[in-house]
Amino acid sequence: MNSEKAYQYIGKSENNVNAVAKATGRAKYCSDMQLSGMLYGKVKRSPYPHARIVSIDTTAAAHLPGVKVVIVGDEKTCPLRFGAGIADEYVLARDKVLYVGDPVAAVAAESEDIAQAAVDLIEVEYEELPTVFDGEEAFKRNPPAILHEDLKRYKTLRSVPPKFDENRPNVFNYFRIRRNDAEEGFKASDLVFENRFETAMIHHVQMESHCGVAMVDDTGRLLVWGTSSKPYGMHRDIAESRDLPLSTVRVIIPTHVGGSFGGRDPKAEQIAASLALAQKGYPKRPVKMKFTREEHLSTTTSRAHYIVDIKTGVKKDGTIVANKMRLLLVGGAYAGTGYLTARNAAFGPAANYRIENFNLDAYGVYTNQRMAGSYRGFGNAESLWGMESQMDIIAEALNMDPLELRLKNCIDEGDLNAFQETMHSVGAKECLHAAAEAIEWGKKTQGKQPHLKRGKGIALGNKYSIAPSASAAIIKVHPDGLVELRTSTVDLGQGSSTIFSQMIAEEFKIPVSKVRVLNPDTDITPFDLGTASSRSTFNMGNAIIKASTDAKRQLFELAAKELEANENDLETADSRVFVKGSPERSIPIKDLFIPMVIGGYTLKEGAEIIGKATYYLPGVMPDPETGASEKPAAFYMYVAQSAEVEVDTQTGKIRIIKIATANDCGKAINPMMVEGQQEGGVLSMGIGSTLLEEVITDNGVMLNPQFADYKIPTTLDCPDLMNYKSAIIETAHRDGPWGAKGVGEGTMVCTSPAIANAIYDAIGIRFHDIPITPEKVLTALKDKKSTTTRGADGLPFRP
């Protein structure tokens, strides 16, 4: 643990190291790639939500001039299934399709137009099968449709295995927590509340669509570029689904990727790889597979429709005695990262409050929709939507201030959470106070006209970071003093390359401009679990510190001889090594290398200055019966958010008057970037998911797969600069680099309840499902009640 002292680069708002390239249009993304002889891929997709593939006729497509190769889901193209935790998905569907958009065939051709024309010529005969869209129906012991008859025979991940349900054939993961007995707790409670809350299916809407480029090189090796946030996950998926040795596949992620937010399943890359491999003879030409915006919005990973049942028992003084929840992730056709989301959605409710009796059952179920997987918050925005709405219902019944109720029960340093883990680094109270203050909590304001009703709301949330976890870093010190980091963390826009540069700058006391971060490349950059779970600053940060120490040790060993000093007495700064306390006894790093005849520099031994390290965090797997674990997660980020809204009771329109967030990130390595995460989480994804966004489907067909109909917030949907406030709370973590934890995922885990609680305060109507659209508001005002009604197809309530 570093002692408190003035840092040169840590805690400073350095400019993003990639910003100049991006501001000048020079930054190249995967979707900008053009290679000599490149072919373009297009996908034939299923029009049915569930059907048996009877036959596929590709003859006409294959004969179209300009078509190089046509592939279908067969033993040759897709020998094995793949998936994050459950291998349930083929690259192209075999035997049956499970959702509208399931890929059944693909074409690579000279141009996108030719490829599309060929796709249109492919004839597929289907035999329709019964479907299931509704989560509760799918959950049944005798569901109307079973998606994966062979589920129990699928390969699953050993380190964090999914748990199936003997009696419920569509359940792909089940997780439970049993801290004492909630039923006993209800008996001991003065009041018990029981409610259901839901969230609509939404999409990440990364600005860069999913894209893959693949080629077979002159040695027969498969190279794949992509937009994945998990290079090593994609590497495994590509190799294992084809039964290829891992080392025969090379995955490269370009320096710039246009956003992730959890939704970068590698389907485009997988199809590109199949099209590259399927070409007969040599040369095998590179293939680019970029999903159109419509394909992106309608077929790639979404955030699930979630059903959250919550029953809470409290004492009259507001003490929460018992809490029981059932979480149902309506997971779509393939589990993807959703297998883990289904489990980990439990973590937020488990760590928000001190609750002696806490029982929870969390499930993920297959349905005939596209895959629903991880999305910023990893299920916790959904589970906390339920818990934090429930808290306000309780507060009203007890005639208590909702802020007071939260402060009274919120978890603190040293408390046990529902896993019976002793909590450390908990900024919940500070966050609550900051969020309340930011909107002048307790002070009622009035709309300008009687039909404009104003109200305020607050909510508490937290986001764990995944364990087990591992990050590896390699640090090379170049003869000219530049320090290079080899990391497989993907800079998706969140700024990891800048954060890492600052860390290395601090370790080596060199300007940020003297650090270079290489892009992920499985031939060059070492293992990282993935750019997810707000884990990079903490995990890769720790690996960077260890690898820096290793590299500096090597520098000091070399310099010790030159300076006739003990290596333990040496320091480095400004690309020199010097004796602590005697900076005049120093040597430039370049002089540690020997310039050679003809050119180049060498060391007499050891080849190069290469520091390397792994930060491995094993965690403790929760007990399968009780969920008990002393270390189920790496750390927890706390957050409180507050909102003031104005509801127009004539139009149903909700205007955000003020919105605020306070996030406990441990230590802000770069405050400007922490703010950037907060702003994006609250203003774009938080407000969007609460008021605007919803994937609308009819018999499994997405009806709004364009920006004209799938609305994400624009500049005009976000409050003015002065009406948004953010606070950074720094509750140092003992294992964090410089005390840092993370930030990104915690930024929208309680935006929805904060807004909905404000709406309730304004008009006295409790909304149980999001998004809260003007139609829902008007209907509820008319009926003076809310509704959780959903149609059989998971269709949202329509007036």
């Binding site: 708002s13 400019n15 993003n16 990639n18 910003a19 100049v20 390239a21 991006k22 501001a23 000048t24 249009g25 020079r26 930054a27 190249k28 993304y29 979707s31 900008d32 053009q34 990440h204 809407v205 990364q206 600005m207 860069e208 710039h256 990727v257 246009g258 956003g259 937010f261 159109t292 915006r293 998706l492 826009g493 969140q494 700024g495 400007m672 970037m673 703010e675 950037g676 702003e679 994006g680 989480g681 609250v682 203003l683 774009s684 994804m685 407000i687 364009q706 920006f707 004209a708 994400i712 917030p713 624009t714 500049t715 005009l716 976000c718 003015d720 600069l721 948004y724």
Partner: protein, 155 residues
């Protein structure tokens, strides 16, 4: 194929193109000006915004042949070597760039606004950028960056 003569970033260009080619595809695929991104291909996201005769235009919505004889500026033409435009500088210094996929379009729309209205109000900035989608930033630092350019010019 048709001949297109057009001035791009001050340079006269002559090219033989398929008449169906959009301006975005021409810039991005033919000329390799990959700063002009395709975000949706239907004029709804603004990633491909360029300036035609100074006006902000979504280049995926017009054909390359429609700019015949005109002057087009792309993001690559905004900076001169390492000397950045004040709008670009403001985006960098205010942390207005995250994933960067929308940035070129966002900057070109901002530039068009600033040329027409060098000292815009916050509402004017929000209005001018309402056709450019961004998912990372919530627009907060983007609006701040554009306003800071106006403030600097007032000083």
């Amino acid at each position: 194929m048709e001949t297109l003569r057009v001035t791009i970033n001050g340079e006269k260009i002559e090219s033989l193109i398929d008449p169906g080619t959009t301006l975005q595809r021409f810039l991005h695929d033919t000329l390799g000006m990959t700063g002009t991104k395709e975000g949706c291909g239907s004029g709804l996201c603004g990633c491909c915004t360029v300036r035609v005769e100074g006006m902000a235009v979504k280049s995926c919505l017009i054909l390359a042949l429609q700019v015949r004889g005109k002057s087009v500026q792309t993001i690559e033409g905004l900076a001169f070597e390492e000397t950045l435009d004040p709008v670009q500088k403001a985006f960098i210094e205010n942390g207005a760039i995250q994933c960067g996929y929308c940035s070129a379009g966002m900057i070109m729309s901002s530039k068009a606004l600033m040329e027409e209205n060098p000292s815009p109000s916050e509402q004017e900035v929000r209005q001018a950028l309402s056709g450019n989608l961004c998912r990372c930033t919530g627009y907060h630092k983007i609006v701040k960056a554009v306003l800071s350019v106006g403030e600097k010019q007032r000083q």
